[in-house]
Point group: C2
Chain length 639, copies 2
Amino acid sequence: MTTTGITSDISLDVVADLAAQLRVDSIRSSTSAGSGHPTSSMSAADLLAALVARHLRYDWDDPRLPVNDHLIFSKGHASPLLYSVFRAVGAVSEDELMNGYRRFGQRLEGHPTPILPWVDVATGSLGQGLPDGVGVALAGRYLDRLPYRVWVLCGDSELAEGSIWEALDKASYYRLSNLVVIADINRLGQRGPTDLGWELDAYARRAEAFGAHVLVIDGHDLDAVDHALAEAADNAKGTKPTVILARTIKGKGFSEVEDSPDWHGKPFPPDMAERAIAELGGVRELMIRGPLPVPAEPGPAAEHPSTIPRQRDAENPASAQWPAYPVGDKVATRKAYGDALVALGGRDQKVVALDGEVSNSTHADEFAHAYPERYFEMFIAEQQLVAAATGLAVCGYKPFASTFAAFLTRAYDFIRMGSISGADVRLVGSHAGVEIGADGPSQMALEDLAMLRAVHGSTVLYPADGTSTAALVDAMAGINGISYLRTTRGAYPGLYPDGEKFPVGGSKVLRSGPGDQVTLIGAGVTLHECLRAADLLVRVGLPVRVVDCYSVKPVDTAGLVAAAGATAGRIVVAEDHHPEGGLGSAVADALLAAGQQNLRITRLAVRGMPGSGTGPELLAWAGIDAEHIAAAARELTRT
Amino acid sequence: MTTTGITSDISLDVVADLAAQLRVDSIRSSTSAGSGHPTSSMSAADLLAALVARHLRYDWDDPRLPVNDHLIFSKGHASPLLYSVFRAVGAVSEDELMNGYRRFGQRLEGHPTPILPWVDVATGSLGQGLPDGVGVALAGRYLDRLPYRVWVLCGDSELAEGSIWEALDKASYYRLSNLVVIADINRLGQRGPTDLGWELDAYARRAEAFGAHVLVIDGHDLDAVDHALAEAADNAKGTKPTVILARTIKGKGFSEVEDSPDWHGKPFPPDMAERAIAELGGVRELMIRGPLPVPAEPGPAAEHPSTIPRQRDAENPASAQWPAYPVGDKVATRKAYGDALVALGGRDQKVVALDGEVSNSTHADEFAHAYPERYFEMFIAEQQLVAAATGLAVCGYKPFASTFAAFLTRAYDFIRMGSISGADVRLVGSHAGVEIGADGPSQMALEDLAMLRAVHGSTVLYPADGTSTAALVDAMAGINGISYLRTTRGAYPGLYPDGEKFPVGGSKVLRSGPGDQVTLIGAGVTLHECLRAADLLVRVGLPVRVVDCYSVKPVDTAGLVAAAGATAGRIVVAEDHHPEGGLGSAVADALLAAGQQNLRITRLAVRGMPGSGTGPELLAWAGIDAEHIAAAARELTRT
């Protein structure tokens, strides 16, 4: 033990001590937990010691202070290092570090999550912390307009993820000089050498080509580390993100494991840990605090490079009026999304929008024209689209991220991790299902409802007309967690009068009578087919109930139970989606969970591989158009 | 009309004519279809004309000829250009081009799919054709060992996808000089300028940094195009992939739309089409054939850079014996996967394996040690992992691609597109569910069953012991489409004797008696919990049936109906997965579809956000351990 009390204004000698302490504590915590990644922590200990002691501007007593820098461990498996930093600054106690790490019910999880107030985003799926950091840096530069920096620690293995390069591309495009990547190039992945090993020049060429200001250093030379961090901080005045490429040694500081491919993700057994701690100079109790952030007010608004010219009509406050769609008039729900987002943006300055280079299809471009300063074009990079939304969300903004629903599958890992981050991210997928017609299956979302329903705490909405779409966009602004709005390509008649309420978790009965024989359940385009089927069935003397199941998750169990009860358990569900995990599953799950008996549910869904065609041709081919729905209903009443 | 009959040995003058014809035909086909992307086709027409006429070695009469070059349109929306090429070589008729494009029931879909015999993989989700092409080039270089080249046409918008850079990284790592990327840099995306516009130098720096041999040309200068293609073909003798960056003009050849941001994805109205065709010199009927492939035998086997040293025991044929696991002995299903894959590889030379840098966890490393020449390390790039598997599959290999199940979410768009490609891709996800314990939620697959079930034509398998795992790995070798094996981290007792059969679509009844009150259904780790629950319940006088639902899709409807019938409709399903879309959904869907009445199904699943802990702690926390299963069964018999 070398020092007690809190040290600030820290010399490099003390930084060296701190680095040794971080290594020792990474070993102690992982050995005590019986799992974890000490060697991946030890390679980056010098980098983190210098950063936290001398460059990270952070008030550890007030982690929500807007001017605080941000520290993101993209290599989330180095959690022992992060938690050892938290102990060194007094944020986490010795007891918590030694008895809480990786234990049930504790907050020092195997990989960091925002359960900890000093953690912005959950990491552990590699290649995500940096894209998330781009979102935080966008907030800092263009929305908060505060001088905080975003420091992201990356591992070298994760530099093989394409998402890293999407992130650097956007970081340079958006001139995010407030973003600093510290890459811990220890040359070893989980099962052996990385793709590029210690070829730091190769990494440097890549990062430079993607627009970064690159510094190559020895990650164990504290003087070099300190200078690089200072230069990175200074570079915040410039126009490029900084990438510090630090050549490091995995397991640095304990000669038995240094640069060994056999010690990834393994704690040292107690005897080894003892030798390691001895080699590192023993347990220390250094308490340090680095620089505090300088109080600052938001700076001037900066135009960002993707800015779309503000259109005159958007400057008119009237454009922020809530859109209204007359019953019977045709409108595409994707258009209603764009209209409603403009209105929402007019009354809530926290609303921001992002899109994956298809804003003229999703209609996010309406928002872009109205509030260019709050719109971020992510080009065709759906992973970064969702990650940027996550980063913006954890900074207190209300992002709506849109693309074709089919292409949200590209970002599923990011959506999943966004849920673990507890981020309130609003996703909007247009052009769902075979309804889109001629473009063919690559553009048809047929898995999106299943994908989004399976996300923890998610909300899945699928409106059929303009009024309900606008109401649900309004509702999404207040939804916690991952929410998803599925919109449709084609225009369909308005069903609901202006002012109708659409609670999340509700449904609407559009046709009903005392003699209803069957309940038809649809959402989006299939609701219109259900209504048409009801007309067909009335003509043959078969009255049916029609339910708009616009809230797919949570689903309206009470409404479904009532409908099932009124029609002797006979139900036809039609969905423009594969049969697994979508609307039909939601309905069946709810009725079974409610203990509904004597169910006879016919589920119509897209069971084949579609090709091109017109929307109506493909709805008929899939067996989800009015004629098939009507036939299914008749079949149910015959048996 | 300038020429009739088939022309070969084609001069650049004829190439110019051909390019005009391809433009005209792209316009004619899209105008006749009423949708499509003529301008995105016109920018690349010169590139394709020169390629097809003078460099692509392809026997259009025998598209399955092993020595044929491969042509992949990563920018799948340029399908009018591809189909116009097919017309020019006589593979597609004038009638089909004019009346089949984007029509219902026709094979000239909006985006190309392998319904067409000259198409390897489905494209249309951008950034996938090149990663798929890496798989094809891997097959060519290391497995087929034939001198074919893989030519991939990319758009510039898609260069923003991280998957492109994963692909180039792997292409250079694996020295795929047989891969040529032709990038059509027309500076315009769907809704406006791309990120980098015409900054060809910036693209060049990126591609060079990622290890490519880069050529920058004017994509409308036929002489330059021809030289670049010749150099690329010659470069196949080298060690680097070639990237040709061609500066082009969107809509080139029709002055009204050239370089206009307003003409993406829109066919020209008939009057405009007429003017365009006139400006391009009218309709042509040129029929051409480029060079044929040179007959070749497989060359010498090359060691690839990721080769893992062959281990001595793997050279022993005995190592290919089918693994056997004594009943009661503990083994992890992930270990059984590795064992079985080695055995399978011993008897089927078409079996290949890939992994995302976690082969020592998934146990794919056993295969890597046994057959290093058939193992491809994809590092931490799950999109490329699945894309390479897709490329290898369409070349006739039987790829098994493994990583942590959670990280397959990273590749969902690629899995979806693989299904559209009709590729037989075998996916293996280890470390599923909360059972993994200390690592926390980022590493826990809790959405994978829903995600994979929702894929068209997929097979989803989830074995609980070594014997069933090995049998299902064997079965996967013969499964068409996307198949998925979910494996578990921990070791659990063997349940089945050697030689037991596990048909896909089957299930096993592990406990049963005439007085069974409830059916307990599990798979993987929860099957072991169901068995333990059955023991607990026997002690309190409640006999139950236990079903191993190892085949989640297709699920054993008959077996489930029998079990439900035997236990008065009382069922408890337990799954280490979120409640939506997984095992419980599969069971409920099957029973409802079978018309089973009076069901009382209790579904136990992971309903909260897990943290760290031990496996047993987390199974208990989630309410899916034996105690909770037993309690749910007792509750069902009380009501």
